[in-house]
């Protein structure tokens, strides 16, 4: 399957396999890590960023691709849009149908709220469904929420909001228990003990999994539950703008992606659960993200006045597929390394311990290719290093790769690569936005009655998220936001006025900053028509 140009390198890798099996690589020292990050992680490179010219977090830096969605006009003209007819009148409006949105809707309804969930694609279409590796939770005897807390803070470079981290780690066991009770099929021993493994940056084995379809299994269960409980859902309904009474959020304008009509929703509280922005393709990086990950909720919340936190840090997952071309950017789950897969350069040598945090691991791979020129180059010019999966079989027995990583195995099998006998090629891929709209521990943003949960929110993970804390985040904060939004809604006696005043002033600011009129956002979906596909264009850092 691999072309001739790569065979030599594969031979070198095969030659070192016996040796590598027992080779121990140390964790880097804090100083080594810092130096590596400063040299090779895109977050530390000035050319990636610009300062946001308008809005409540004006002057903050963010990747240029993100700045371009904030520095853009709404497709809605606030002076002309008719808000006199209200199509839906609800207590809680949930925008987004992934893990956070579904959890929020279920909990809000349980607490007596009249809920409406809108999502621009199908219910469940999200990054949640793609999360393979696992979900963290300190539920074993040798572990505790305090140890989990320390791992999260260290992984996030101590920048995390302590209240949010507390919520994350303390809610983790109850959240796992909630999912178990709903009938999520976790990997367990016959006596019910959860099978748990390490992830990058964990000091205890607390990664719970559902084979390598963890997020998919959780999402399928939540979706089934939404349908069973008949939570009202509008699919292919994209939120184009929030509505406010000038100060507080009071609803949203939803766009029917198929009939191209607008509908007006009045809501006592609104939860943004729209996920991240991988499809903005920072620096032309490929992405592991879902088609709909275009950062819409960030734009909506920001225009309504919600400030941002940590939107200057993006997580590049160290192991995105680099070959074959058709898989470029897709995730090779971290679990591959958790169970013993090794990162190897073109000479057949390991150069980084496999379970460093994601930012360090990614920077080490970029350095190996761009700095030390010890990467492999694919026929399309994509730099890459090897991820040797064959050692997993040698360590844990024949058949392990197929049984522990069925999704991965199948994906590569389609292209004639057998993970049990051949290594694969990987390179970092844009995976996660560590920051987002600033929230408190109930999930509320700085704008009253506006909540945010999951990847659209910022602060939980500081400047770097650990594996398995994102699935946890979406369920923890989805549930928290659902509860808080339902309780707040119950305390609001009269529905608020609907206006686009906030948008008028935002547009004025854009004009003041001379932002060209033709720039519009949110973009709802990426546009790959006729391009050589953005996914195939990567700017290599040197």
């Amino acid at each position: 399957m691999y072309p001739e140009s790569m065979r030599e390198s594969i031979k070198r890798l095969e030659a070192t396999r016996e040796h590598r099996l027992t080779e121990e690589l140390p964790l880097m020292s804090p100083e080594e890590r810092q130096k590596l990050l400063e040299g090779y992680h895109p977050d530390y490179r000035a050319e990636v960023f610009s300062e946001i010219k308008v809005g409540t977090s004006k002057g903050q830096k963010t990747p240029k691709e993100y700045a371009s969605i904030f520095e853009a006009y709404s497709v809605i003209d606030p002076a002309k849009f008719d808000l006199s007819e209200v199509d839906y009148d609800v207590d809680v409006l949930v925008i987004g149908g992934g893990g956070a949105g579904a959890a929020a809707a279920l909990v809000a309804q349980e607490h007596g709220a009249d809920v409406l969930l809108v999502t621009k694609l199908r219910l469940g279409d999200s990054n949640t469904v793609m999360a393979q590796g696992g979900i963290q939770g300190a539920d074993k005897e040798n572990d505790s929420p305090a140890i989990h807390y320390l791992d999260v803070m260290g992984g996030g470079h101590y920048k995390n909001d302590p209240d949010l981290v507390e919520a994350l780690v303390m809610d983790a066991p109850p959240v796992l228990s909630w999912l178990e009770k709903l009938g999520v099929m976790f990997d367990k021993e016959s006596d019910g003990t959860m099978v748990t493994i390490h992830g990058g940056g964990t000091s205890r084995k607390r990664m719970h999994a559902c084979r390598d379809y963890t997020g998919g299994e959780i999402m399928k269960t939540l979706k089934d539950e939404i349908l069973n409980r008949e939570v009202p859902v509008i699919e292919f309904g994209a939120a184009y703008e929030l509505l406010t009474d000038g100060r507080k959020v009071t609803g949203a304008i939803i766009y029917n992606m198929e009939t191209e009509e607008f509908v007006v929703v009045r809501a006592k509280t609104v939860i943004l659960a729209t996920g991240g922005g991988g499809r903005l393709h920072v620096m032309g990086f490929p992405t592991s993200n879902h088609y709909g990950a275009t950062g819409d909720g960030l734009v909506l919340g920001y225009r309504a006045g919600a400030p941002l936190a940590f939107l200057d840090t993006i997580q590049y997952h160290p192991t995105g597929a680099a070959y074959p071309e058709q898989l470029l950017g897709l995730l090779v789950t971290e679990k591959t390394r958790s169970i013993g897969g090794q990162i190897v350069n073109t000479e057949g040598n390991r150069f980084v311990y496999e379970l460093e945090t994601r930012d360090v691991e990614a920077a080490a791979i970029i350095r190996e290719c761009a700095g030390r020129k010890k990467g492999v180059v694919t026929p399309s010019g994509q730099p890459a290093v090897w991820l040797d999966t064959v050692v997993i079989e040698m360590r844990h027995g024949e058949g392990t790769v197929k049984s522990r990583l069925p999704a991965m195995y199948r994906q590569y099998e389609r292209f004639g690569i057998d993970l049990a006998t051949e290594p694969i090629l990987i390179y970092p891929t844009q995976h996660y936005q560590n920051g987002g709209l600033k929230i408190d521990s109930t999930g509320e943003t700085k704008v009253k009655n506006l909540y945010a949960a999951g990847e659209v929110a910022g602060g939980v993970h500081g400047t770097n998220r650990l594996m398995g804390n994102s699935l946890l985040d979406v369920i923890v904060f989805g549930r928290r936001a659902g509860l808080a939004a339902a309780e707040r809604a119950a305390s609001i006696k009269r529905q608020g006025k609907l206006s686009l005043k906030h948008l008028e002033s935002y547009h004025d600011e854009l004009k003041g900053a001379r932002v060209p009129k033709k720039r519009k956002s949110p973009i709802l979906l990426p546009d790959y028509r006729r391009e050589e596909t953005v996914e195939n264009r990567i700017k290599v850092l040197s």
Binding site: V129, M130, A146, P173, M194, G292
Partner: protein, 226 residues
Amino acid sequence: MAEEMVTIYVMGKQYEVPANLTIMKAMEHAGYRLVRGCGCRGAFCGACGTVYRTKDDYRLKVGLACQEMVQDGMYLTELPFYPGNKAQYDIEDLSADSETVLKLYPEVYRCLACNACTKACPQDIEVMEYIQTALRGDIAKTADLSFDCILCGLCASRCPAEIVQYNVGLLARRLYSRHVAEKSGHLEKRVGELKKGKYKKDIEKLKKMKTNELKELYNNRDMEPR
């Protein structure tokens, strides 16, 4: 080197596209901006089920547009939605046996064992096998066999008995996990401890620490062996 091109027919309309593309990327190359029929682009969400036929072959084939490569002369259409039956239930009230399955999805009785579902599955799941195990009341086996399902609906689209296999599999996994698999004792214990307020003090202490103190703790924390 000139790119090798192939001719495909999207809903009957002819397009020339590069040969090294998946069906999804080929449609985009041809000018489609997908709204339906596109999701995760990585075989996890089941949004892009596709029916196609190749040149000089009467057989209908199915696959995922994000995974299947184009072939010269391919006639195709996406099948982004399938109007399958979904039963309503409260998982708490159910028992994990064939009675439950047959009460909620009586059409399972009608399985002809023709294996069309298995042949259609882009995930290579033994679909017919798990319908048969469900019929026999082996919920654990059904849950296990159906695990990799991504709900694309292609099995149901080919089923002459009008069974909605993917929903049967989902029901079985939830039944198994809720009512058959042992509850996790250590998880229950930890949840109980948290309810009593255990760990609150530990966290409070950590929250009050200065970054340097936290760093010290973090850099010297003991690691459970890999």
